[in-house]
C-alpha cells in the first residue's frame, strides 16, 4: 500500500506542475489590463506605472511564472492586490468554512442519496422507483440559485426558522454555525444526493442480478442482510469513487451557493478575485484546490483497494 501511495504521489508531481502552468497562463490570457482596474477611477499614470513595476507585470511571462513558483516553493503564495492580506492567510481563513459546508452537504447527500438509490434499485419498476427517479431528476435539474432564493424566502422570510444568510464560525457558536449552514448545505446536498442516488441505483441493479445474491437468497438469508451485506458492499466501489470526487468538487467552492447565502468560502473568494483581477488570489486558490483534487483522487483509489481485495494484486 505504501509503495502504491508513494508511486501515485510521484506521478502527481507533473500534474501539479501542469496545473500551475495552466492557472498562471490562463490568467494572463484574460483580456483587459488589471492595473487599469486596480488604479481606481482616476487612473493616475504614475500609480499605474508603479503598480506594473510592483507586481512585475512588465517582465516577460516566463519570468513572472518563475518568480511565482519560486515563492510558492518557499510557502509564499503572494499578497492579495485588493486587501494586502497574504494569500496563504486567506486560504487558511476560508478553508474551514468550505470544508464545513462540504462535509455538511456531503452528509445530507449520503443520507438521502444512498438509501434512495438502494430502495429504487430494490423496487425497480415500481412506483417507488419512479418517484425516486423523478425526485432525483428534479434535484439535478433545479438550479442551485433558484432553490436557494426560494428557500430563503420560505424558511427565513416567511417562517423565520433559520438565518437568511451569513456565516458563524464553528468555534464561536456551534449551534448557530450549523443553523446558518443548514440551508446552503441542503441546497448543495440535494443536488449531490440526486447524483449519488443515480450511481447507487445502477451499481445496485448490476449487483442484485449477480449469482452470489441469488445464492444468498437461496440460502434463505434475510432480505435486509442480502441487501446491505452482500449487495451494497459490492456496489460500494463506484459509489466511493463518485463520493470522493464530489467532495473534491465541493472543496473547489460552491460558487453560486456561496454567493447566494453569502458564505465566505473558496467560491466567493475566487469569484471576487476574478472580477477584481486579484491575480495572486485566483492563482493561489485554484492551485490549492487543484492539488486537493489530485489527493482526493489518490485517496479514492486507495479506498477502493481497501474495499476490494482483488485490486490489491496487480
Amino acid at each position: 500500500m505504501l509503495a502504491f501511495l508513494g508511486r501515485r504521489c510521484l506521478i502527481a508531481i507533473p500534474t501539479i506542475i501542469l496545473i500551475s502552468i495552466f492557472v498562471f497562463g490562463l490568467q494572463k490570457l484574460l483580456p483587459g489590463d488589471p492595473v487599469l482596474v486596480m488604479a481606481g477611477e482616476e487612473r493616475d499614470p504614475e500609480l499605474i506605472a508603479l503598480l506594473r513595476e510592483k507586481y512585475r507585470l512588465n517582465d516577460p511571462i516566463p519570468v513572472q511564472y518563475a518568480a511565482w513558483v519560486g515563492n510558492i516553493v518557499q510557502g509564499d503564495l503572494g499578497i492579495s492586490l485588493r486587501t494586502q492580506q497574504p494569500v496563504t492567510a486567506l486560504i487558511a481563513e476560508k478553508l474551514p468554512v468550505t470544508v464545513q459546508l462540504a462535509v455538511m452537504a456531503l452528509i445530507i447527500a449520503l443520507v438521502i442519496g444512498i438509501p434512495a438509490g438502494v430502495l429504487s434499485a430494490y423496487k425497480k419498476g415500481t412506483w417507488i422507483d419512479w418517484v425516486a427517479n423523478v425526485v432525483a431528476l428534479s434535484g439535478l435539474s433545479v438550479p442551485n440559485f433558484w432553490l436557494g432564493i426560494m428557500m430563503i424566502l420560505l424558511v427565513s422570510v416567511q417562517l423565520g426558522w433559520l438565518p437568511a444568510s451569513g456565516y458563524v464560525p464553528l468555534s464561536e457558536d456551534p449551534g448557530q454555525s450549523i443553523r446558518t449552514m443548514l440551508m446552503p448545505a441542503f441546497v448543495l446536498g440535494t443536488a449531490l444526493a440526486a447524483t449519488l442516488m443515480r450511481h447507487t441505483r445502477s451499481a445496485m441493479l448490476g449487483v442484485l442480478q449477480s449469482d452470489y445474491v441469488r445464492t444468498a437468497r437461496a440460502k434463505g438469508m434475510g432480505e435486509g442482510t442480502v441487501l446491505v451485506k452482500h449487495a451494497l458492499r459490492n456496489a460500494l466501489v463506484p459509489i466511493v469513487t463518485v463520493t470522493t470526487l464530489l467532495f473534491g468538487e465541493l472543496l473547489a467552492g460552491a460558487v453560486l451557493t456561496e454567493q447566494i447565502f453569502t458564505i465566505p468560502g473558496f467560491g466567493k473568494l475566487v469569484v471576487d478575485a476574478v472580477f477584481n483581477r486579484d491575480y495572486a488570489v485566483v492563482q493561489g486558490v485554484v492551485l490549492c484546490t487543484g492539488v486537493a483534487f489530485i489527493f482526493l483522487n489518490i485517496l479514492a483509489d486507495a479506498t477502493q483497494r481497501v474495499l476490494n481485495p482483488r485490486m490489491r494484486q496487480e
Binding site: G32, A164, P264
Partner: protein, 503 residues
C-alpha cells in the same frame, strides 16, 4: 391553547433577545470593500465603512455645503494660495493618540508620499503644510485649487493615527486606526467587518449604537430577504426594481438621494483611429443621437422610475446644474433633420461598447431601439469591464457607455474629462475656451465665479457633446422601520450620528 401560549412565549423571548442586542446595528453592503486604508483604497463601498470608522477634516451637508468635522474653521488667503485651518481640540485617535496639527501634517505627507497612495492626484496642489500651533495648520499651495476643501471631505481628509501608520506602513489596512465614532474590531473577508463604539469620540453623545456590523451580501434579492427576515437592520443600494415592493412593505422604510455621478455615452472625437466615424467627427450627429433618446423612458423602463434623467455632468438636483439647459424631450424628426444636415440623410451605423452586465446592456438595448427609429443603427458591443476600460483609454472604440461615480466638488465631474490632456479625457475632446473656463472654475474660491464658469462651459458643451449624458443613479437605502434619524446624502454614505432604534 398550548400552541398559542408557546407562540406568545416565543414571541416574548424573541423580543427579549432583540432588546438585548438592541444596540448592534447590522448593515448589508452590496460588495466587500477593498483594503481598509483610506490612502490606498479605491472602492465606493469602502467609503461607507469609513463614514463610521474615520473622521475627516470636513464633512458635507445633504446640499453639498462643506461643514466642520475635525477642522472647526478655515480661511483662504486672498491669492488663494494659503489655506489656514483651525482644528478641533479634545479629539483623539482610537489608540489614544491625540489629534492635532502634527497629525494633520503626517497624514498629508502620507497621502502624498506613500508609494501605494491613490490620493496623490487629490492632494498634489499642496506644496507644503505646517503646524502653526497645536491646533492650527497652514497649507501652502503651488497653484490655487478651490477643490482642495472638498477633497478633505473624502478619503484625502481622513485622519489616521500617525503612530499606527508609522508602525504598520503599507499594512495599515489590516488594522485601521482612525478617529471616527467607531473603532475597528475585526474583518473576515467577504463575510463581515465589525466596529465598536469609540468611547472617547468627541461627539459620542450623538452615537446610539454599541456595535456596527457591515455584511457584504452581493445578491440584491438576498440582501432584501435578510432585511425582511430581521437579519439586517438596513441595507444600501436596493435594486431600483425592488423599490415598489419594499415601499409597500409596512415594516420597511425606503430612503433615496440622487447621486453625484452620472452615466452616459462617451464619444471618441479625437482619440486615435477610432475617432474616424460620423459620430466622432460631427457634433450634429451627436446631437441627433441625443435628441433620439427619451431619457424619461429609459428611467421608467430600465430603472422603474427610481433614477434621475440627466443631460449634464451634474444631476438636476445639484446646485451646479445649469438650469438654462434642461433635459430635453425626444424629437425624432429633429434628429433626422440633423443627420441630413450633417450629410447622412440615409442614416448611420455606429458601434457602442458597454460593460457586459445585465443592467447596462438593457439600458443600451433601449437606447438602440430609440435611436433606430431616428435612422441611427447602433451595434452594441458588450465587453468585460476591464477590457472596455483598456480599449477606451487606448482609443480603440467609437463610443462607450460608461459613467462616473461623482465627486463632491463639481471639478471632479468635469475637468479631467473635458480639458485638453485631462487624465481621463478618453474622448480626447479639446477646446481652448472650455479649458480656460474649467481652469478658472478650479482656481477660484468664489462660488459665484465658479458657477458662472461652469454655466458658460455647459453652453459650449451642450453643442459639442463629447459625452452624451443619460441619467444619474439614485442611492436607495432600505431600513427596518425600527430605525429612526437616518438622513440620505447624495454621496451615498451612511452617517450614523443621530441614528437610533426607536423604543
Amino acid at each position: 391553547m398550548t400552541t398559542k401560549r408557546t407562540f406568545a412565549l416565543a414571541l416574548a423571548m424573541g423580543l427579549g433577545a432583540s432588546w438585548a442586542q438592541a444596540a448592534d446595528l447590522r448593515i448589508g453592503l452590496q460588495d466587500d470593500p477593498d483594503v481598509l486604508d483610506p490612502d490606498q483604497s479605491r472602492t465606493f463601498v469602502g467609503r461607507i465603512v469609513y463614514a463610521s470608522l474615520c473622521d475627516k477634516l470636513v464633512d458635507i451637508t445633504p446640499d453639498l455645503e462643506i461643514i466642520p468635522q475635525l477642522a472647526t474653521g478655515w480661511e483662504w488667503s486672498d491669492d488663494g494660495l494659503e489655506l489656514t485651518m483651525t482644528l478641533r481640540e479634545g479629539a483623539s485617535f482610537h489608540d489614544g493618540e491625540p489629534f492635532n496639527a502634527a497629525a494633520v501634517v503626517a497624514n498629508i505627507d502620507r497621502s502624498q508620499n506613500l508609494e501605494e497612495s491613490r490620493r496623490k492626484s487629490e492632494v498634489k496642489s499642496i506644496a507644503s503644510v505646517e503646524a502653526v500651533d497645536d491646533y492650527t495648520v497652514k497649507f501652502t499651495l503651488a497653484s490655487p485649487d478651490a477643490t482642495l476643501i472638498a477633497q478633505f471631505a473624502d478619503r484625502s481628509g481622513m485622519m489616521l493615527s500617525p503612530k499606527a501608520t508609522a508602525e504598520a506602513g503599507v499594512e495599515f489596512g489590516l488594522n485601521p486606526v482612525c478617529s471616527g465614532p467607531f473603532e475597528f474590531v475585526e474583518r473576515v473577508q467577504q463575510d463581515r467587518i465589525v466596529l465598536e463604539k469609540f468611547a472617547d469620540y468627541w461627539n459620542a453623545d450623538a452615537i446610539n449604537f454599541d456595535k456596527v456590523i457591515f455584511l457584504p451580501i452581493p445578491d440584491t434579492t438576498v440582501r432584501l430577504a435578510n432585511l425582511r427576515s430581521g437579519d439586517l437592520d438596513m441595507l444600501e443600494r436596493l435594486a431600483a426594481t425592488d423599490v415598489a415592493s419594499a415601499s409597500a412593505d409596512d415594516g420597511l422604510i425606503v430612503e433615496q438621494a440622487v447621486s453625484l455621478g452620472y452615466q452616459g455615452i462617451t464619444v471618441n472625437v479625437a482619440n486615435g483611429a477610432g475617432a474616424d466615424s460620423p459620430i466622432g467627427q460631427s457634433e450634429l450627429v451627436r446631437k441627433a443621437l441625443s435628441l433620439a433618446i427619451d431619457r424619461d423612458v429609459i428611467n421608467q423602463v430600465v430603472f422603474e422610475g427610481a433614477f434621475a434623467p440627466g443631460n449634464q455632468s451634474f444631476p438636476p438636483t445639484s446646485p451646479w446644474y445649469n438650469a438654462d439647459f434642461p433635459v430635453e424631450g425626444r424629437d425624432v424628426d429633429a434628429a433626422k433633420a440633423l443627420l441630413a444636415e450633417a450629410g447622412f440623410p440615409d442614416g448611420i451605423e455606429i458601434d457602442i461598447q458597454v460593460a457586459n452586465n445585465p443592467v447596462q446592456t438593457q439600458l443600451m438595448q433601449v437606447v438602440q431601439a430609440m435611436a433606430g427609429e431616428a435612422a441611427i443603427k447602433i451595434n452594441i458591443v458588450a465587453k468585460e469591464f476591464a477590457t472596455l476600460l483598456s480599449d477606451q483609454s487606448a482609443g480603440d472604440y467609437t463610443a462607450s457607455q460608461i459613467g462616473w461615480s461623482g465627486r463632491v466638488d463639481p471639478d471632479g465631474n468635469i475637468h479631467q474629462f473635458m480639458t485638453t490632456g485631462g487624465g481621463i479625457n478618453d474622448s480626447k475632446y479639446s477646446n481652448p475656451e472650455v479649458d480656460a473656463l474649467l481652469d478658472k472654475a478650479r482656481t477660484s474660491t468664489d462660488l459665484a465665479v465658479r458657477k458662472e464658469s461652469y454655466d458658460a462651459a455647459r453652453a459650449i458643451l451642450a453643442d459639442e457633446l463629447p459625452i452624451i449624458y443619460l441619467y444619474h443613479v439614485t442611492w436607495i437605502w432600505a431600513l427596518d422601520d425600527k430605525m429612526q434619524g437616518f438622513v440620505p446624502y447624495p454621496d451615498g454614505m451612511i452617517r450614523l450620528e443621530g441614528v437610533s432604534f426607536n423604543e
